[in-house]
């Protein structure tokens, strides 16, 4: 008699006043998914109809930072976090479409077993999106049950490694996977190739901080955006519909900054494979791999679609300057140019490359925005800028971010003749 409120009173209020419990299940799910996960679970105390609504949430996000109790005992908090997530997944009932984990700031005390069992749970639950923002100190091997999540569409993994032959031979692969993002990964052998080959519909591949000791071969028929940044030997690319490519190559260097490893990247065939791209970004030390006689000059095909170029380049280096020039020459529709200058304290004599160019042909026909980073006002850089300003007819903005320019240099800069009346120089 004392337990609970009187039934008659309850019934009346349900019919007349409760307006949130009558929303369709999908909407209640959506609302719960917008709440932090602990609060979402807390809704089970609200009323009878909400008792197990949390257990059918489809999008889960577990943040280790939410479990910081502030009493300085991080291990304790980690244990509570693991326990909570385990219990939640155990009591959860229904499909899980999105799973997010954020433990990026805290190391987990466990040895990674938690990821395997959670991944196993997800593979049974028609998971579509996985985002594991794990700390780089918790590097783990991709559990094999990952390869049974056949409905995956979006994957973001961090601080993990693939070993060769990890993909089960009869695995169906990831037929729905559209976006694959990996960060701080290390791959062995052909594991990356195999992975990409098992994703026939992959459209966006992004690998940052890659660590690989061999060549990378990527064959993908639907790939549109490719980002590879890290350490590797060479990239063989076969992706006919690629629209955007961003390659950043890091080479090992010793303490002086001089390169100890020779760059083995074959840039010319690589460039040749990028005929339809719209965006090219070459960062890192990739341009150090340019050969003297740049083969692209023999390539009659133009990069008609190329509208954006971003390079990390040392304009004073003859080889690199040549490369840049040929790129500009073969990209008639280029609109956006971003250059990040590298200057090496080398004893190479100043090169009058840019000044001695033939001015008959317009190089920068359609260029309208140019951004220059780390502008030091060196000879070559100024020469290039002069060329640019005198050449580009539709130039609108030139953004220069410098590291402290000399006043005279600035004066010279601003006084350079401009072909385009609207050209604006912004010094940031």
């Amino acid at each position: 008699m004392d337990h609970g409120s009187s039934p008659t009173k309850v019934r009346k209020s349900v019919v007349d006043e409760d307006f949130i419990s009558n929303l369709p299940e999908a909407l209640k799910d959506k609302i719960l998914c917008c709440l932090p996960i602990k609060e979402a679970v807390g809704t089970c105390l609200l009323s009878r109809s909400w008792r197990y609504t949390w257990a059918s949430m489809t999008e889960l996000m577990f943040r280790r930072a939410d479990f910081a109790s502030g009493n300085g005992n991080a291990d304790d908090d980690t244990c509570r976090f693991l326990k909570f997530t385990d219990m939640f997944l155990f009591l959860h009932n229904g499909p899980i479409l999105k799973f997010g984990l954020n433990t990026i700031e805290n190391e987990m005390v466990s040895t990674g077993g938690h990821l395997s069992r959670w991944m196993l749970m997800l593979s049974r639950n028609k998971i579509k999106e996985i985002q594991l923002w794990t700390s780089i100190r918790d590097s783990y091997k991709i559990p094999s049950c990952f390869f049974s999540c056949h409905e995956l569409e979006y994957v973001y993994l961090r601080a993990c490694f693939f070993t060769s032959l990890q993909l089960p031979p009869l695995s169906k692969g990831f037929k729905q996977l559209r976006t694959l993002r990996l960060e701080y990964v290390s791959v062995q052998g052909s594991s990356l190739e195999d992975l990409v080959a098992s994703c026939p519909n992959l459209e966006k591949l992004s690998i940052c901080r890659l660590c690989s000791k061999s060549n990378i071969n990527i064959r993908s028929t639907k790939l549109k955006m490719l980002t590879i940044e890290g350490r590797f030997i060479h990239l063989n690319l076969h992706a006919p519909y690629l629209t955007s490519v961003w390659i950043g190559l890091e080479l090992k260097s010793d303490t002086d900054g001089a390169l100890t490893a020779r760059c083995n990247f074959n840039l010319s065939p690589f460039i040749a494979s990028l005929s339809d791209v719209e965006t090219i970004r070459f960062h890192g030390q990739i341009l150090e791999c340019v050969e003297h006689e740049f083969l692209i000059l023999k390539q009659p095909r133009l990069f008609n679609r190329l509208t954006e170029i971003s390079l990390e380049i040392n304009l004073g280096n003859l080889k690199q300057a040549n490369f840049a020039l040929s790129l500009f020459q073969h990209a008639p529709n280029l609109r956006l140019v971003k250059l990040k200058f590298i200057s090496r304290n080398s004893v190479v004599p100043t090169v009058h490359f840019w000044e001695s160019l033939n001015r008959d042909v317009c190089l920068f026909q359609n260029v309208d925005v140019v951004s220059l980073f780390n502008f030091t006002g060196s000879f070559a850089e100024l020469a290039f800028l002069k060329l640019l300003l005198e050449d580009a007819p539709v130039l609108r903005k030139v953004r220069i971010s410098d590291k402290g320019l000399d006043k005279d240099v600035l004066k010279n800069l601003l006084m350079m003749r401009r072909a385009s009346r609207d050209a604006e120089i912004l010094i940031l």
């Binding site: 004392d2 409120s5 949130i20 609302i31 719960l32 917008c34 932090p36 807390g42 609200l46 909570f84």
Partner: protein, 345 residues
Amino acid sequence: MSESELSVIKPESLKTYIWLQCFDGSIQQVEEEVAMFCPMICREIVKNGTGSSKNHAIALPERVNPSSLSLILDYCRFHQVPGRSNKERKSFDEKFVRIDTEKLCELTSAADSLQLKPLVDLTSRALARIIEGKTPEEIRDIFHLPDDLTEEEKLEPLKNLNDDPRIRLLNRLYAKKRKELQERQKLKDIQVKQEQKDERSLDELLCFINGDGGSGGGKAGKNKKKNKRRKDPKNLPKADPEHVNKDEGARAVSCNVGAVNNISRAPCPSSDVQGDNEYPFEDGDLDDGLDPAMQEELDREVEDFARRLNSVWPERMHLGQERRIESQLIGGNGSLQRFSGFNHR
């Protein structure tokens, strides 16, 4: 209402209007581009060709009531203009959801049935923000949710699932409440027993009046009541019905024994009550034949029994001792006592 408004604002425009009909029958017209922003309406126009005239108005789903519809149309009217900056859109959205919670729920429901995904996202997030950071009572208050979980369901502690300090506090409060409930229950039990106690004293008086020549039944009754009385102070904290049952069983036997041995003692029970709380009845007679060694042995056996729970009492002859042992075990396992009780039968 909107018809006249629209005709005032744009009198000479050549805009096409779409007719929409709510579930309650009211019909509105709205500019085509505004209406087309809603996927569901768009589909109706394109596929079924409805909406072009008043007679063929598009029938909107049930969940769209007129007030929600006007809000939705305001939203569409703002967002379908392509030239707005993201900042403008964001600030409009923020102001848009600052409405009464009930209306917000209706709006969410209506937007969902019209499949207007951006508005559904916006309103769901707004509802989540309302729920976030509030206690269950506050949330129930806002949404008029019934508080229909039984006390027991609330008391099922959310063991480690939710480490929110508020939930811990809540659990503690509920634990306190639970204790209170138990105590209340105990008090009730005590009251019941006390009532019985009163009755007993009456019967005793009757027995006394009737004299010691009373039937075994009378004596038995006396003994029974004596036992019960003696045991009760000990049993109060437990309030276990099992105890009562067991006691009956034991007493039934002991009464027979008592009836045999204790005729002489019958008239003055009261003097014996105060002492010897451990003893169910005057066992003076039964104790006489025992020597300490035997007693110790039996004590050891009790411990054995307590450990194994299934051993058979070898010493059935010394029922008195067993009675004592039993009473010592009263503080322990209720089932133990019951078992020993049945044995004696």
